[in-house]
Amino acid sequence: MIPLSVRFALRELRGGVRGFRIFLACLALGVMAIAAASSTAEAFRRGLAAQSREILGGDIAVTAQQRGFSAAERAAFAQAGKVVYSAGARAMAQAPSGDRRLVEIRGVGSGYPLAGTITVQGAASLDQALLPAADGVAGAAVEPALLDRLHLKLGDRFLVGDTPFIARAVLIGEPDRIGRGFALGPRVLTRLEALRATGLIAPGALHAESARIALPSRADPAPAIRRLKAVLHGDGLLIRDRGDAAPGARKLIDRLEYFLGFIGLASLLAGGLGVFGAVQAYLETRKSSIAALKALGAEGALIRNVYLIQIALLAGLGVIIGLGLGAAVPLLLGVFAAGSLPIPALFAVYPLPLAKAALFGLLSAAAFSLEPLARARATPPASLFRRDLGARVGFSLEAVGAILAALGLAALTVVTAPTPVMAGIMIAGVAVSLGLLWGLGRLAVRAAGRLRGRLRGALRLGLANLAGPRSAARSATPAIGLGIALLTAVILIQSSLLGQIRAVAPRTAPAVIFTEIPTGRDAAFDQAVSAVIGPAGPDRYLRFPFVTGRITGLKGRPLDRKTIPQDQRWAYDNDISLSAIGPEPKDAGLTEGAWWPAGYAGPPLVWRPGWPRPGA
C-alpha cells in the first residue's frame, strides 16, 4: 500500500511543473556547472593518469639543474633500471638569413623515449632524423614554428649558438612534453652528444639534465625512489615518479575545476534563492488546498510530507537534468575538441564527479526549500476564511534540516576544495553578501512603505506592492544581488587581468630581452645595442648579471624541507632568479629594507662556493 503522503503528493503533481520551471532551471543550471567542471577535470586527470609513464618518460625522472650527474649518481640510476639521459637549454637559433629565434633545445640519449612514442614528419624515425650529415653536422627534429619563423625548410641548416644543425624532421609530438611544462620557444630535439658540443650545458649555463628510469616490470616506483634517495644526497636533484608526472598540469586542472565549480556553486546559491522563491510561491498557490486538507483532518506532518515529497521529486528531476547536461559537456568536448587539447583526456561519464554535483544540488534544494515547507505545515486552517492569514513558524524541525543542509553545503565545498582556507573565505564572503542583501531587501520594503503615502498613481501602486505582505523584494533582492555580484566578480577578474596585461605589462616589460651574453663580451654587446637603438640610457637599456638557483639554507642553517608547510614549498622547489643592478630603478617596488648603495663593496650578496669573490 502506497503511503497516504505519497498518494496525495502524486495527485498534487498532476497540476504539472509549470510553477516549478524556475525551481528546475535554478537547480539544473547550478548542478550542470558543477557536474561539467568536475567531469571535465576528471577526464583530464584520468587522461594524465593513463599516460603518466609516457608523460614522465619512464617510471622515475631525476633532474639536476645547472649541472651534470656524477658517476655515483649514474651508477645508482643504472642499478634501478634502464636509463635514458637527456639535457635541455634555452638558446638563440639563427637561420642563414640572419633570422633569430629563442628555442628550447633538448638532447636525448640513445633509447629515448623509454615510454610512449615520438612523432616526427619528414624522416622515417627519430633515429633517422638525428643522424649527422656526411660533414658531421648533427641532425635535429624541430617544431613547425621554428621553420616558419626562420623561413627554413627540411634539409636547411641553422645555428644554435655557434653550432650548426640540420633540420631533418618536423617534431610533431613528444610523449613527455606535458611533464616538462611550459616552453618559451619552439622545441629542437637532437642527440645528447650534439647538444653537449654546443657548450650550452657547460657549468654555469642555464640548463638542466635529466635521467629517465624504466623499472623492471613497471614496478612500484616508491621503493626504488627510497633506495635512490638513500644513495643520492640531494644537491638540487628533483626526483619524480609517474604518479607525479605532470604536477603543473595537475595543479592547473585542480584549480580550474575548483574555480569553475565555485562559480557553479555560487550560481546554485543564487539559484537557491530562486528555489526558495519558487517553492514559497508554489505553496502560496496551494494555501487553500492545504487549509482544506487540514479542515478535513490532516495533521501538519502529513501536509509537510505531501509537499516535501513533491519538492524532493522535482529536485531529483532538476538534478537529473543538470547531471545529464553536465555529463554531456565533456563528452561533447571529446567529440569536437579532443584533437586540439594540450592535455590527454579520457572523456567518459564518471560517477564520482556526478555524485558530487548531485549532492551539491540536493543539499542546496534542501537548504532553500525546507523553510517554506515549515510554513506550509503551519498553514492555519482558518486561512480558508481569511486568505491573508500567515503561518507562524518558530524554530522547527524543518529549520534544523535547512541549517544542516547549509552546513553540509559549506562542508562539501571546503572538503572538495584544493585550498580549504580559500574555500572558507569564499563561503564567508557569500554568507556576508547574502546577509547584506537580505537586509537591503527588508530596508527596501520599509522604505517603499514609508514613501507610498507621499506619491500618487502608478508609482504609489508599485510601491504599495513592494511594501505589501507578499512583496517579492525580500527574496528577490538577495537572489538578484548575488547573481549580479557573481557576474560582476567574474567580469572584474577578467578585466583586471586583461587590464594588467594591456596597460601595465607594456609599460614595465621590456620589448626585447637578451640572455646568455658571454662573460667578457658584455662591452661589445653594449656597443652592438647602441649601434642599433642609439645612445642607451638606463631608461632604454639595462644589462645586469643574472643567475638562477635554489634556496638551500636559511639564516645560516641548512634547509629542512620537512619543516616547511606544504603550501610554501614551491618557493624552495623551484629555481629563483637573482640579478644585480646598480642604483635603485624607478618603480622598483621596494616594500621593506633599503637598496644597496651604488658601488657596494661589502660581503657578497649572491655568492656560492666555487665562484670568484667579488672584486677578486
Binding site: 482544506a292 483532518g297 501538519g300 486552517p381
Partner: protein, 235 residues
C-alpha cells in the same frame, strides 16, 4: 441513565482579530449549544460574525476567550494537530467556494477525508456517495471540469461520506443559481438527516434558514435571537 455531551457547546466565546486600524472584535461573548442531530441555521447581516462563529466552532480558529467544546473536548486544550484529529471522520465542512482539491478527481476528493481518517474502502465509499449526489458518471472529472452546482455536490458528498456527527456549512448555496441552490439544499438536508449529523448552517437565505430546526440571528458579534425550543419545521 448517562447524559452524553452535546456535539457542540460554545460558552462566552469572543474573537478579536488584529487589523491595520487596530484590533477588531468579531465575536463578543457567544453562547451556543447544538444538540445531536440538531439543525441550526445562523443568519444575520454581513460582518455580524457568522462565518467566524463557524470557524471557531469547527476548531479552525482559536477564540480569544471563552470555551469551545466539541464532542465534550475543550478545544483550547488541543493543539492544531489535536483539533485536526478530533475533526477527522466526525466533523465535516462545506464552504461557499467549495474548496475542492483542484488536482484530485471527484472520486479522490470525496475519498480524501476517508483516507486521512484511515478508513478502508475509501474509493468504493466515494463512488457510492457520488452516485447518491447524481455524479456517478463524473468520477474521473476534475473540479475545473465541473459546474459550480456539481462542485458543491462533490463537496457535499465529501463532507458526508465519512458519516460525521457534525456538519458545518458556510453559505453552501451562496455561489449557486436558484435551481442548483435548491438541489444542493435538498440533498444536504436529506443526507444530513440520513446520517444523523448535527448541522450548523450559515446562510443569508431566509428560506433555507427556515428549513432548519432552529434559527440563530447574529448581529455585531453577538447572538441577537435564538428560537431554540420553538418547534422544528419539516425538512
Amino acid at each position: 441513565m448517562t447524559v452524553s455531551a452535546p456535539p457542540l457547546q460554545l460558552t462566552g466565546v469572543a474573537l478579536t482579530l488584529p487589523s491595520a486600524a487596530g484590533p477588531v472584535a468579531i465575536l463578543k461573548g457567544v453562547d451556543l449549544t447544538v444538540g445531536a442531530g440538531e439543525r441550526v441555521a445562523v443568519t444575520g447581516p454581513s460582518g455580524s460574525g457568522k462565518s467566524s462563529l463557524l470557524a471557531v466552532a469547527a476548531g479552525l480558529e482559536q477564540p480569544t476567550s471563552g470555551q469551545v467544546r466539541l464532542f465534550g473536548q475543550d478545544l483550547a486544550r488541543l493543539n492544531e494537530d489535536g483539533r485536526a484529529r478530533l475533526r477527522r471522520g466526525r466533523v465535516s465542512l462545506v464552504f461557499q467556494s467549495f474548496h475542492l482539491l483542484p488536482n484530485m478527481t471527484a472520486e479522490e476528493n470525496v475519498a480524501a477525508p476517508l483516507e486521512i481518517a484511515g478508513a478502508r474502502g475509501a474509493a468504493a465509499t466515494a463512488r457510492s456517495w457520488l452516485d447518491r449526489v447524481g455524479l456517478g458518471a463524473r468520477l474521473r472529472h476534475y473540479p475545473h471540469q465541473m459546474s459550480g452546482g456539481e462542485q458543491q455536490r462533490v463537496a457535499l458528498a465529501r463532507a458526508l461520506a465519512a458519516r460525521p456527527a457534525q456538519l458545518f456549512a458556510d453559505e453552501p448555496t451562496g455561489n449557486l443559481d436558484a435551481a442548483n441552490a435548491a438541489t444542493v439544499a435538498d440533498m444536504m438536508f436529506a443526507l444530513v438527516a440520513e446520517v444523523g449529523a448535527a448541522l450548523v448552517l450559515v446562510t443569508h437565505d431566509p428560506a433555507l434558514a427556515q428549513r432548519a430546526d432552529r434559527r440563530v440571528v447574529m448581529g455585531d458579534g453577538t447572538i441577537q435571537s435564538d428560537d431554540a425550543g420553538q418547534g422544528r419545521p419539516a425538512a
